[in-house]
């Protein structure tokens, strides 16, 4: 009886997850394109070697790692500040929390299109107001140089996802017991000492949850960067997903795309597991 109840879920899991994974793994050892499966030939580890030796792919992986570290790092800090500010229950904070949801609710592709217009150096609002306020003398060509393009892609991600982090941390702040903080205050700890030594350790499971969810999403970033910079200028913002898309879904080189996907998955698994070990120490969430 038990097995029969579980069976539909297992079948769906096999069909939707396990089978494609096996196909992906098998494909990575063959050289073929989607339209010429009859020319499929076993090449062993050649696809993996090709991917590892390709400097543009190595560059793409580094760009992706940098993007994830910058974006998630800033979101965590900004989210924590927002959460601390909005955690006390009041009407103003309730309204503030609701407003926070707005960028989070915008479709990423739409937000990228809007940002592209806002950052246009000829008629975008950002340069216009920066010039009106006397902060800059002439327009900044945001998407034309590597440093400013990075500000744009990280800025967009931070704008969109900081509220998500803030909401998780705010829920944590509102849920943790107040007694340890009161005890610290009685012992003479100031606000910063209380936050750093008492509140923050209690928040650790929520920080781990927020980082985990954001890491997974940040590594999957594709549409926003594709629209905002297309990986440019040059290859300065070319995330590995843009490369994977081109190899797999524009040129349909299935073997090479499968090998790249698997290598990236392995790399991600190592990074995420190590990170969680660090963050997850002494947290019930991850035990």
């Amino acid at each position: 009886m038990g097995w029969s109840l579980v069976c539909p879920a297992v079948v769906i899991l096999l069909l939707m997850t396990i089978a494609p994974t096996i196909y992906l793994l098998q494909s990575s050892f063959f050289s073929f394109t989607l339209l010429n499966p009859e020319l499929k030939r076993f090449v062993g580890l050649q696809n993996f070697v090709q991917v590892i030796l390709d400097p543009t792919i190595r560059h793409g992986i580094l760009v992706t790692l940098l993007f994830v570290v910058l974006a998630v790092g800033i979101e965590l800090i900004a989210g924590l500040i927002l959460a601390v500010a909005l955690a006390p229950r009041s009407l103003g904070n309730t309204i503030g929390s609701t407003v926070l949801l707005l960028p989070f609710a915008v479709t990423p592709v739409v937000s990228a299109l809007i940002w592209r217009q806002l950052l246009n150096p000829n008629y975008g609002w950002v340069d216009y107001y920066l010039q009106r306020l006397g902060i800059i003398g002439r327009p900044i060509e945001w998407l034309s140089s590597a440093p400013t393009a990075w500000v744009a892609i990280v800025g967009l991600d931070v704008w969109q996802w900081t509220p998500f982090v803030a909401l998780i941390l705010m829920a944590g702040l509102q849920g943790i017991p107040k007694e340890p903080q009161e005890a610290a205050a009685v012992d003479g700890a100031n606000a910063w000492q209380t936050f750093w030594h008492v509140t923050l350790p209690q928040l650790r499971p929520f920080i781990a949850l927020a980082v985990l969810l954001r890491l997974v999403e940040a590594f999957k970033t594709f549409g926003t960067v594709q629209i905002l910079t297309g990986g440019g200028p040059g290859r300065a913002t070319e995330l590995i997903n843009l490369t994977l898309y081109r190899i797999g879904l524009q040129d349909f080189q299935i073997g090479a795309a499968a090998a790249l996907g698997i290598l990236f998955l392995i790399l991600l698994s190592i990074i995420v597991s190590q990170l969680l070990q660090v963050l997850g120490k002494n947290t019930e969430l991850l035990e």
Binding site: L34, N122, E141, P233, R246, L249, D251, F252
Partner: protein, 474 residues
């Protein structure tokens, strides 16, 4: 009637029914059964689906078949077309195919030469293939089934099915929407007496729309007035396929093969002409500074926005331009300037018959009708970029089109006749990206043109080798 006579009559009728049925079913085999519906997979905006929608009622009345049109945006369409063909799906009878996809699809698309030669299949529409602009037809529809990277040797020869077959090539569809780079300019500025006088006194020659790239530079410099928010021109220099389209146009103008990679895999993009062309391109942005801020992140969309908002006097694009309502001015068109040669980038959408369709003969008839002169002429109402010479003559005689689009169709037709397409590679997008990065790096000034192309060269060669092409190392 006696009983015997009645039995004879019944036997005779039965025999007629049986043998007649057999004969008629043989006849039906010879002429495929007419389907009630054909499914067409099409591009939403890039190939002007509105134009096709316009003729659907005519199609139904002429062919007696319903045409079910399904459209997708570019990226999703490419994936859909490839996935359908890879899975040998018979669902879509007709598919729209962009030129760079075809080298990978030739074994999945139905060759049409035999259909074009069969009078029984041309009973509804005469395909009149000699009416197609030869350069467009050969670039978009004619491929070598065994070596899909080869172009037809003479792209200006009148279209002839027998000659195409004789040369070992096949026809994989019929062209519909043909896009090519043209030069839009602000007619009001060029015809302003004050501007003409100022130009004459500054350069000692009359102000005119540039016909050569040498003439282009002073005109672009003349109109560049950043304090008045006006620039000479704009470009598609962002890191994408559009930058390659700009660059390949210049490479052709500078006298090298505008496909960027020749049919025998010589890297013309990295030739001395290629370096000179990229240097010219980079200088427009960094030395002469005749482009607006942000041009090194622009695509064709940004070029249109910039020109339409009155920020530039000239701009190259694939389609007509419309000044925003707040900009007082007039737009006209010219062919892209020349250097030692001419070769604006072009690319054409063709309608092809799915090899796995169960209605191939009727799908062919539909393709012939949709790409025919009558349908294309009607589609002009929705701004189709026709692929037939006769339709351009119709456009020239249409005062309404002249009023709405000035001389756009005249310039479009002339530009298509001298256009240069892309290299035919199964991994075109990978190769294009490498060249786009080189163009973008030169445009931003982060690399010298020579260094940018030198860096791209080994990457492109390696990619071609990985795709199975034979490429010389030197």
């Amino acid at each position: 009637m006696q009983r015997r006579d009645f039995l004879r009559l019944v036997a005779c009728a039965t025999g007629t029914a049986v043998f007649g049925g057999t004969l008629s079913s043989r006849g039906a085999k010879a002429a495929a059964t007419k389907p009630q519906k054909l499914n067409l997979l099409y591009a939403t905006a890039e190939a002007d689906s509105e134009a096709v929608k316009l003729v659907l009622p005519d199609f139904a009345s002429k062919l007696g078949i319903k045409l079910n049109l399904e459209t997708f945006p570019y990226a999703a369409l490419q994936q859909k077309v490839f996935a359908e063909l890879a899975s040998s799906s018979a669902f879509y009878d007709i598919m729209v195919v962009d030129t760079p996809w075809m080298p990978a699809l030739t074994n999945k698309i139905e060759p049409l030469s035999s259909y074009l030669k069969n009078p029984q299949l041309n009973d509804i529409t005469d395909p009149e293939i000699k009416d197609f602009i030869p350069a467009v037809f050969y670039d978009a529809a004619v491929f070598n089934p065994k070596k899909s990277h080869l172009h037809f040797p003479d792209s200006n020869a009148p279209v002839d099915v027998a000659e195409i077959e004789k040369q070992g090539f096949e026809i994989y569809g019929l062209p519909l929407q043909a896009n090519v780079l043209t030069l839009a300019y602000r007619k009001d500025l060029f015809e302003d007496p004050q501007e003409q006088q100022a130009f004459q006194s500054k350069y000692g020659k009359p102000l005119s729309v540039p016909e050569t790239w040498d003439d282009f530079v002073p005109v672009a410099e003349f109109f560049t007035r950043p304090d008045k928010r006006l620039y000479g021109t704009t470009l598609m220099a962002g890191s994408g396929d559009w930058a390659v389209d700009d660059f390949k146009t210049l490479v052709a103008c500078w006298g090298a093969d505008g496909h960027l990679i020749t049919d025998d895999f010589k890297m013309s993009f990295a030739s001395p002409e290629g370096v000179a062309a990229l240097t010219f391109y980079s200088d427009l942005i960094n030395k002469q500074k005749v482009t607006p801020p942000g041009v090194t992140s622009f695509s064709w969309d940004d070029v249109a926005d910039t020109f339409n908002s009155g920020l530039t006097a000239m701009a190259m694009n694939y389609h007509d331009m419309k000044l925003n309502s707040g900009v007082k001015g007039e737009v006209a068109y010219a062919m892209v300037p020349k250097k030692v040669a001419s070769g604006p980038h072009f690319g054409t959408w063709i309608l092809s018959v799915n090899k796995f369709s169960k209605n191939k003969e009727w799908a062919y008839r539909a393709v012939a009708w949709l790409t025919g002169a009558e349908a294309q002429t009607k589609m002009l109402e929705k701004q189709l970029h026709p692929s037939r010479a006769s339709v351009y003559k119709e456009a020239a005689a249409n005062s309404s089109l002249q009023k709405d689009f000035a001389n756009f169709y005249d310039v479009l037709g002339k530009s298509l006749a001298v256009g240069v397409g892309r290299a035919r590679l199964s991994n075109y997008f990978d190769v294009s990206k490498v060249i786009a990065v080189a163009v973008n790096n030169a445009a931003t000034g982060s690399q010298k043109p020579q260094a940018a192309l030198d860096a791209a060269l080994p990457q492109v060669k390696e990619m071609l080798k990985q795709a199975g092409y034979t490429v010389a190392d030197n």
